[in-house]
């Protein structure tokens, strides 16, 4: 599903952001990627989204070599990868329903499909009653649930969540993690980048630790130690 073979990424100045990273993630897995700020976690997400090109090594997603995904084919590739951000990145001038529908509009779904699918997503994330609210009228947790619904609405095989609980209080953090777990249970591969060790310990999932651009450990939940 996700395979990184000896991937390195260097920017113009300074040390490489990622160095010789090899990771294999199977379909349907739930994986945490942890590490301090500047460890290379975000670079990893951007590589998986094909926002960046690796300096060395190869990345395969669903068996597809990302190097062979041309500029023109990037949109089709990204439709298989849902993404959730720390700061939600919702459109402030549109309500909850429109924010989710927007993701379907962008991939040119029909109005009929949109009308059918968006309410299902709203129910899944528990926001059916608030479909008319603007993002500014929602709590952080609710906003992140909208963002998750938006990432899921096009039924991607993979969800990448970059610090999804970074801006949330403890209650909302658990709500979001439970939601991601539920999504994973339904078959979607979930990769969560975080530095919240409390949830990593509690969730008991596979944990990949990156330090200064290098994978220093890759263990199952039971074996993970800070």
């Amino acid at each position: 599903m996700i395979r990184l073979d000896h991937v390195s990424k260097s920017y113009e100045v300074g040390k490489p952001a990622l160095e010789d990273v090899t990771i294999h993630i199977d379909p349907g897995e739930f994986v945490f990627v942890v590490g301090d700020s500047g460890s290379g976690k975000s670079t990893l997400i951007r590589l998986l989204l094909k926002e960046l090109e690796p300096t060395k090594g190869k990345i395969y997603i669903n068996g597809q070599d990302l190097k062979k995904v041309t500029h023109k084919k990037i949109p089709m590739y990204r439709r298989n990868v849902g993404v959730v951000f720390q700061n939600f990145r919702l459109l402030p001038d549109r309500n909850v329903y429109e924010n989710i529908a927007f993701a379907m509009k962008v991939v040119e779904s029909s109005n009929r499909e949109i009308k059918k699918r968006v309410p299902t997503m709203l129910s899944l994330v528990g926001l059916a009653a608030k479909y008319k609210s603007r993002p500014s009228q929602l709590s952080g947790g609710e906003q992140q649930r909208v963002a998750i619904a938006r990432a899921l609405v096009n039924e991607p095989k993979i969800i990448l969540a970059d610090e999804p609980t970074g801006n949330l209080d403890s209650d909302n953090t658990w709500e979001i993690m439970r939601l991601l777990e539920e999504i994973n249970r339904r078959g979607t591969t979930v990769v969560v980048v975080t530095h919240n060790m409390e949830i990593v310990r509690a969730m008991n999932k596979r944990v990949i630790t990156i330090k200064k651009g290098v994978v220093v450990s890759d263990v199952g939940g039971d074996d993970y130690e800070d």
Binding site: P75, A103, K105, V106, E108, S110
Partner: protein, 302 residues
């Protein structure tokens, strides 16, 4: 793209104009000014061209023949003249006709004076071809050609009239072209700027669209719609204004300056607009399209 996607993008493009009111208004105003001035120059130019054409038709070259030339040779010369591309029309004026014309002009009211010549036509050697040109600037070419023909004694021409008309025509064309080209650049620049502001206002939305999997065409479409809509609005407004102003000006000129109507005739507004409307709309849409595409190419690498 699906029809619903096209409609969505058109809606987004219109919304962009609304969200970005101030810049859109500035662009529409400049476009309006550009097309308005273009319309004025076009109307003036077309009217002048028509007047020029009428004036050109009045400028004739007269070709006289050698003494004792046969009618057969005169007919041959007529045939040669007919073949020339710069000739619009020509007619043969016999010596008798030339004398009749002369009498009408110079002996008006004194037929007895003319009668004293009786059978002795003073213009006996004045049979000629009166040649009217399709393009007055070609006069000297035709004159040289005629002077080289066997049997031609003399060619009368109107050098000053031809030159003046040609000069005025080129001056109007050059000035109007220059102004319109400058305004075209200004309009493209302003529309391009408006679209650029739209892009920066929607930078976050564009970034999200790209991450979700929007195709390049989908991201660009609303901005292209915005540019084209600005161009379209900016060409419809001046066309409406010009329509009413042109009618009023022509009516005013006809009523206030009666003497003008004997000298010039204005082209009807409908005739002018038959050409002006499609040109202006194509210009407006074209400027909008070029302006937005330029910015998208530069600032929206998706």
């Amino acid at each position: 793209m699906k029809i619903s996607t096209h409609l969505y993008n058109i809606g987004q493009g219109i919304k962009n104009i609304w969200r970005n009111k101030l810049f859109s208004l500035a662009s529409i105003a400049t476009m309006t000014a550009c097309i308005f001035l273009f319309g004025i120059f076009y109307s003036l130019g077309t009217n002048f061209q028509t007047m020029l054409k009428e004036a050109e038709e009045g400028v004739a070259v007269t070709c006289f023949f050698d003494k004792g030339i046969s009618q057969e040779r005169i007919d041959e010369i007529g045939g040669e003249i007919k073949k020339r591309p710069e000739v619009a029309s020509y007619n043969f004026v016999s010596a008798e006709q030339a004398w009749e014309n002369y009498k009408e002009v110079y002996f008006e009211g004194h037929p007895e004076a003319a009668e004293s010549f009786r059978e002795d036509n003073p213009l006996a050697d004045s049979a000629n071809y009166e040649i009217y040109l399709s393009d007055v600037s070609m006069q000297s070419t035709l004159v040289s050609y005629l002077e080289g023909l066997d049997g031609v004694r003399k060619v009368n021409k109107s050098e000053v009239a031809a030159k003046t008309l040609t000069d005025i025509n080129s001056a109007i064309t050059i000035v109007s072209m220059a102004i319109v080209i400058i305004l075209l650049f200004v309009s493209v620049f302003l529309i391009s700027n408006t679209v650029m502001v739209g892009i920066s206002v929607r930078r976050e939305e564009i970034a999200i669209m790209k991450l979700i999997g929007a195709k390049d065409a989908f991201v660009r479409a609303p901005f292209v719609v915005e540019g084209i809509a600005i161009g379209l609005i900016g060409s419809i407004i001046p066309l409406v204004l010009l329509f009413f102003i042109y009618e009023k000006v022509v009516a005013y000129a006809a009523s206030e300056f009666n003497f003008l109507s004997s000298m010039v005739s204005f082209i009807p507004v409908k005739t002018i607009f038959n050409t002006l409307v499609p040109i202006s709309l194509i210009l407006g849409v074209g400027i909008g399209w070029v302006g937005s595409r330029l910015t998208l190419h530069k600032h929206l690498r998706v």
